[in-house]
Symmetry: D2
């Protein structure tokens, strides 16, 4: 599943450099992952109320161009890998421009499912979605 | 008790206007209240683990002058009123300048103690500190 | 003009108490004011590029009920007063519930227009919008 | 140069999971880099006022253990590489425990120096600090 999440840069998300602070992109990525789950019929809040959590264990992000206040952004989220207890998402942040989307940042986010004691655990059935499977590479299957 | 809390403005706390965003002052005030409690021997984290919370129900804040990156700030916290279930703090934010502190913001923060279900409750003995009593006005007692 | 702005509570906006942190409401109010201006045909970013800024000088906010992750919120912004160099907005934050909107917070935000040196200045023609005029009370005019 | 920066986890930095949100670690890393520069005699604010900026172009961060409210943290910053226009920092976040520091996160942060138009530029003399040189590996020189 390729999921699109749209948002607008807020004034308070820009820092003393005048552009969106590097940490704020991680907020954008988190919003987009929660929206990805919601799009697949999963409420992260309910998941937590059932005793599960999804925890980020690794992020690699390349910042390619800056975003500014009121910029219309598009975050594209796609599963790259799925494992027993978690997986890896590809997440790309674009600015929507007249000539098409322009990539601002490009990230890989590794996550694990944890139980109520914060320990990694097998992805529960409710989360074991086809939408978390990576697309098959061309030529396979 | 008059409590002093010092901090330095961080780059990511400044917004597209180049100065500390108005919402960030509320973070400063919260840090200072937690430090106030710590100075009185109370860990807010332990308080929460014992099932209590301190919830802000009203803030009035006047912004008098702007703060910029790397400014050394001083937050002065003093109790103004104490009630059965809460109280009011006066909190003032100053920048420390060569000629003395300059006031940047001036707030009154009304708080209540809540129990595990989020309902207002009588301040527990552990929190019923002399340090939460307002200073007596001159001429009384 | 009565302006409505909708948003969803993000996971990273909730604090150690499990609900939206008090400072985050000021972010919501700022988003809603920027959207109010945009709805009136004004880009805050362009306004700043022309050398003007809108600065908050006072906020009084009552927190009435808590918001949690994924809550759908509605921020209603209305002008209360207009002066030569600024004005006062009423801003109310509601959660949209099946039975109708429930008020979570209620604020008055006083703002001034500043020039490039940060000094209060007469509201420029571009900003001198009918939409900034408070509605007339019933029975007047 | 190996630089140590100490800070305390704030209540508003914890998210709905009860621990420090992944994005907040990037704030900690930024605070530590600014403190690193300050320790080397450089004010980042003055650097910006002279027309230079330091921009993060890549972050890889592994989250190993969670931090909670009021945890005392230590961020250790060391240069890993220096190039004509920038470099790479190693930054590690520890919690200070009775038995010694425990690593919570481990990051590599790639930065470039930019000029007033945001274009990568040769590191200016004022910034060309011996403290930005990586330590020589043992056995060299």
């Amino acid at each position: 599943m390729r999921h699109e999440h749209r948002l607008t840069v807020q004034s308070y998300e820009c820092d003393a450099n005048g552009h969106v602070n590097n940490a704020v992109y991680l907020n954008y990525l988190e919003s987009a992952r929660v929206a990805f789950l919601r799009g697949a019929g999963i409420s992260y809040r309910e998941l937590r109320e059932r005793g599960f959590g999804l925890v980020v264990v690794r992020i690699c992000i390349d910042y390619r161009s800056e975003a500014r206040m009121e910029d219309p952004l598009l975050v594209v989220t796609e599963p790259l890998k799925k494992r027993i207890t978690g997986g890896i998402f590809s997440q790309k942040v674009y600015r929507e421009e007249a000539t098409g989307p322009r990539m601002l940042a490009d990230a890989e986010v590794t996550w694990v499912c944890v139980n109520g004691r914060g320990k990694p655990t097998r992805i529960p059935a409710v989360l074991d979605l086809a939408s978390l499977d990576p697309a098959l590479p061309e030529g396979t299957a």
